[in-house]
């Protein structure tokens, strides 16, 4: 993380950075306090950030508490990742007109506004890269995802504080943001360290006339990020994947999980890599027009595995097995690396506190 040319950004100049981005016609999105957690919200300046707040996450629990009064990035991550910004939860795919002379279709992807996202975490950058692989680098490229992605400017923040639910270090995705951003910040005792990850990022930094960071600041940043990695207590042993997960198909432990899991789909909704979707047909009342709308779906829904006369995954046991086996095994075969980036959201937002790291450990135990 430190090879980049880093600059010092004093706290009282943080707004200059934000304004420099706004001047380039970007809308600013940042984690702001809403409904007891942090969500992406539009901001005009740094004042609206979550200063003095810190989140506290645990299996099945999320709380906002008082944090360092002069820091705004102690809120590590809310339920949203970057997913909703590129793979929209409701995306119109096709507009259909039904006239006397038959059907006409319009599937043009709408222009989206240039948007800068402030405070993106390493795990979410890794997840975005994975979603890019799925949606735009495969055999079929999704024009709606692509249109949104092209309009994003990403300002990452290196994590200096991990949640007990975080395990990015074991998945090799964080806590330092290594690539895939335009700018990266590290929050220090006095202000920030800032570095560029793209040409646009370099131009923005150049416009601010910042001082180059010295060794003490760089060392402070390095140590803070290393300490964050070291503080993580959860992990997944990825060595035996994917084979061990496939092999665990008939493990009795799936029944144990099924006795706790509600099949609520929360874990797949907050997961930054889950890409399943269904397509809904939404006709107008007069039926002379109709829209095909893509909506997020989940392997926990009864419809997901339905074919006429049969449900591939009739009960919770099979659905949870699908989720975990896809995430940690099939995903590797499909897209070259694990579908889990270690953000821990599925642990935090599971209403009954199911912890996939513990379930994996139980499933991979040899003598079961």
């Amino acid at each position: 993380m430190t090879d980049r040319c880093a600059f010092k950004l004093p706290r009282d100049r943080f707004d200059d950075l934000l304004q420099a981005i706004r001047q380039r016609n970007y809308l600013l999105l940042a984690p702001v306090e809403r409904d007891g957690s942090v969500m992406w919200g539009e901001i005009e300046g740094s004042r609206e950030l979550a200063w003095g707040k810190a989140d506290s996450q645990a299996p099945g629990s999320y709380r906002l508490e008082a944090g360092h009064p002069e820091r705004c990035f102690e809120v590590t991550h809310g339920p949203q990742s970057l997913k909703s910004l590129t793979f929209s939860p409701r995306q119109k795919l096709v507009h259909v007109r039904c006239g006397d002379d038959g059907l006409t279709f319009d599937s043009e992807a709408a222009e989206s506004k240039p948007t800068a996202v402030i405070g993106v975490r390493a795990c979410d950058l890794a997840a975005l890269k994975m979603q890019e692989r799925i949606f735009i680098e495969g055999e079929y490229a999704d024009p709606y995802f692509k249109a949104r992605r092209e309009k994003l400017l990403l300002v990452a923040v290196n994590c200096t504080r991990a949640q007990p639910t975080c395990f990015c270090a074991s998945m090799g995705t964080g806590p330092a943001a290594e690539s895939g951003f335009d700018l990266v910040l590290t929050e220090l005792e006095e202000g920030f360290l800032v570095a560029a990850g793209s040409r646009t990022g370099e131009e923005i930094i150049a416009s601010l006339n910042l001082d180059a960071a010295g060794e003490p600041e760089q060392e402070e940043a390095r140590q803070a990020v290393e300490a964050c990695a070291a503080s993580q207590t959860r992990s997944i042993n990825t060595e035996q994947l994917p084979q061990a997960m496939y092999a665990a198909h008939d493990h009795p432990h799936w029944d144990d999980i099924a006795s706790r899991c509600l099949s609520c789909a929360n874990c797949t909704m907050v997961c930054p890599t889950c890409f399943c979707h269904a397509v809904e047909e939404v006709p107008t009342l007069s039926r002379d027009e109709s829209e095909r709308i893509r909506v997020w779906d989940s392997c926990f829904t009864p419809e997901h595995g339905y074919i006429h006369g049969k449900n591939m995954r009739p009960a919770t046991r099979e659905r949870y097995r699908m989720w975990l086996t896809h995430k940690l095994a099939a995903w590797i075969d499909q897209f070259g690396s694990s579908g889990c980036v270690g953000c821990g959201r599925c642990i935090t937002w599971c209403p009954v506190g199911i912890d996939l790291t513990a379930e994996v450990a139980a499933l991979l135990e040899k003598d079961a």
């Binding site: 038959g102 059907l103 799925i134 079929y140 490229a141 397509v279 997901h304 074919i307």
Partner: protein
């Protein structure tokens, strides 16, 4: 190109094959779309009915005549029911072609064993017709079809017509007996014992309930047919057809883009499982 773009097509002809089963001959409205459209046997289209939805349906016509697209549809539920009510002259939407079809090239020069089961097997019927139109390019053809009860046998005339081709056998089996049933009584795999085959020069194409295909593949394997020369047509929920919606997964595969026709040696570990 936007893989979600739908193209309007007109129903040029509608043929009732059996109660609730129709073959639609479709022609694209747009000349540019029509002339650019090419497909391989066993590929499918997503057929769209305005205001209702979109479902995967195999193309059963000959790939060498890609302007007329035949789809045989069985009415089973929401979308197929409305589709079944469409008439000649009506328009519907097409997105496709998608997926990988039958190994019709690999099968050239080989004996072809077709194993099907259940209520009609439109996807494989297209492949059979393809082979018969080029009869001299293929070895012997043996078609084995199993149903639960005699009245589940659809396309009886089609089976009878196939029987007339040279070097061709058609064997039918029903789990239970019936008054007009003068074929085998029992499961489809029992027919294997009735046919002579040269396993090393055979290729197998299967379509039907997954359990039937699994048992048939195991049986053929014991007879000495190599696992990599058996092909199964897989069915899963499909929302997109292009490997993005996640519904059609079978282990590491997406039935829509890696299939729907899949090689047995690849798919075997995941048959009879739910992930």
């Amino acid at each position: 190109m936007n893989p979600y773009a739908i193209h309007a097509a007109r129903i040029a002809e509608k043929i009732q094959e059996a109660p609730g089963i129709y073959t639609f001959r479709l022609l694209f409205e747009d000349e540019a779309v029509a002339s650019a459209f090419a497909f391989a046997g066993g590929q499918f289209n997503m057929l769209y009915v305005a205001g209702v939805g979109e479902i995967p349906i195999s193309i059963v016509s000959d790939p060498d005549r890609a302007r007329e697209l035949d789809h045989t549809i069985r009415v089973v539920g929401r979308v197929s029911e409305v589709m079944g009510n469409l008439q000649e002259g009506d328009t519907l939407g097409i997105r496709g072609p998608f997926g990988h079809g039958w190994p019709l090239d690999e099968a050239r020069g080989r004996d072809v064993l077709v194993v099907t089961g259940g209520l009609g097997c439109a996807p494989v019927a297209g492949a059979i017709e393809y082979i018969f139109r080029r009869r001299e390019q293929y070895g012997s053809v043996k078609i084995m079809h199993g149903v639960k009860k005699p009245r589940d046998l659809l396309f009886r005339e089609r089976f009878d017509a196939w029987r007339q081709h040279p070097d061709t056998e058609v064997l039918l089996a029903s789990d239970v007996a019936g008054r007009t049933w003068h074929y085998h009584i029992g499961v489809v795999t029992e027919l294997f014992d009735e046919v002579e085959m040269e396993p090393e020069r055979s290729i197998v194409m299967m379509c039907g309930p997954e359990v039937m295909m699994r048992l048939a593949a195991e049986h053929m394997g014991r007879r000495g047919v190599p696992r990599e020369r058996m092909y199964l047509s897989m069915e899963r929920n499909m929302q997109c057809g292009i490997g993005l919606c996640g519904h059609c997964q079978i282990g590491p595969y997406f039935a829509c883009k890696d299939g729907p026709v899949m090689r047995y040696d690849r798919i075997a570990p995941f048959l009879g499982r739910d992930v």
